[in-house]
Symmetry: C2
Subunit: 275 residues, 2 copies
């Protein structure tokens, strides 16, 4: 018998070598209850069919990853980004994802202040479509080591400031990923604030390895690194958050092993961590 | 004839393949006026002789790199760090360096709050010796990507907080390195505060490349990356800072080329940037 872990979600990118169809078989067999679907996993598939397959697998779609990348040096480039985010909102709606995670974007050499302004403008441009589709948007602050070309939003404080600038629409919140924010001395206070303002839309877990050998693809399984995941989880839960804890691991190391054994380890590690 | 650049300092680690003796010949030939000496460059040398050689070369010793690494999981480990910092103070005094740069340290898995407490205690323990030797100490906030094992001080705000906790002794200040702090939305305000409090002890320059392929040794020469070095320099100068701009580049790429040509590029790039 499988012990269902009511708050365990796994991102399709975590087991990148598996097809979406394999994920739908293998995730439930480990007691995983939620799935966050990356857009590349949807390529070439009928979205209505995917929605039905996920439902039939007994999985809850937690979010669609990812929108964002709003800044660009030209108006045409920014419009392309807006169009892509509108498409992501349609996709999320079609597969029944209640949330899109935004990796907000940055342009090397463009000031971060200007990029954050363009991010706010981009979110504002797609917000009506998101609201109409019943899809929420989560700004994910990215670690400052990604400030050059991935996100000009590098702290929860900055994510809150963008929510404020937009007039605090209910649909726009924050995705807290321990990998990106664990070092932030304001982390607890900003998580508290996210709880108070109804902005805590998603919670991602993995670990920070010492040494880390790749800027993108050397994340650790929980327990492999130095992040106090349990403490941050407690802060998140203390706000009243009852959503999924999403395992999002980019790792050349883990992608090179048998993915079913990796899923076994994710499930057992998660069960130990939150027992 | 050589045009002397009154504020250009180069770190010995920047041209790591060169011996200290080579640095003392090559730096002045490019108009470099200051040198920051890394401790490994002193190994096996008589410090009094080094002091004389540097003076004879017409170079000003800007600082000694580096002290710090105070946190440890045991009292004995912390005492070892204090002893090493006392030794660094003696070395700085012996070679005529008015300043030691502190990479403060961190222990993977130990809370950053605890590590910062140990850092403050470590600085307090060596402060009397530093004051007696006439050697200042500069806390260098390190990029958050080094929070696991190199420094629990990751923003200028945190560096200021440690200075405050120590009672704001004149000897303890901050080393601003654009590589570590360029992303910080509070950067200008914290530089202003450093100026107002007399804490702006050092200013380091290099660049952040996109992509960066190594966590330690892929820094860029000014202009190779996305950091708005000139703007940050202007903020620093606006505080009244008139000290050296120290070129500190760790780079496997640059270390693999002819170091004299690299020095030519440093000098010409610097001259263009600040013309």
């Amino acid at each position: 018998m499988i012990f269902l872990m009511r708050r365990l979600c796994v991102h399709t990118i975590t087991t990148k070598p598996l097809s979406l169809e394999d994920c739908l078989v293998q995730f439930p067999q480990r007691g995983v209850s939620g799935i966050t679907i990356w857009r590349q996993a949807l390529e070439g598939r009928n979205l209505g069919t995917v929605a039905r397959q996920v439902r039939d697998a007994g999985l809850e779609v937690v979010s669609l990853c990812r929108g964002g990348f709003f800044p660009a040096t030209t108006p045409a480039g920014r419009q392309t980004a807006i169009d892509d985010n509108l498409k992501a909102i349609e996709q999320a709606h079609a597969i029944g994802a209640p949330l899109i995670v935004l990796v907000c974007g940055a342009v090397p050499g463009q000031s971060l202040v200007e990029s954050r302004k363009q991010i706010a403008e981009g979110i504002a441009a797609v917000l009506p479509a998101a609201e109409q589709a019943g899809v929420k948007l989560a700004i994910e602050p990215l670690h400052p080591m990604y400030a050059d070309d991935r996100s000009a939003v590098n702290t929860m404080r900055q994510a809150h400031e963008i929510c404020d600038a937009l007039g605090s629409p209910i649909a726009v919140g924050i995705a807290v990923d321990v990998y990106h924010v664990w070092w932030d001395p304001e982390l607890k206070a900003q998580i508290d604030l996210a709880g108070q303002t109804g902005r805590l839309h998603a919670f991602h877990i993995c670990d920070w390895k010492t040494p880390t050998t790749d800027f993108l693809n050397d994340r650790g399984l929980m327990g492999e690194g130095c992040i106090n995941i349990k403490q941050i989880s407690d802060w998140v839960d203390a706000t009243g958050f009852t959503g999924h804890r999403e395992v999002e691991i980019f790792s050349n190391k883990w992608w090179s092993v048998d993915q079913n054994e990796f899923l076994d380890q994710i499930a057992s590690t998660y069960a130990r961590l939150y027992s």
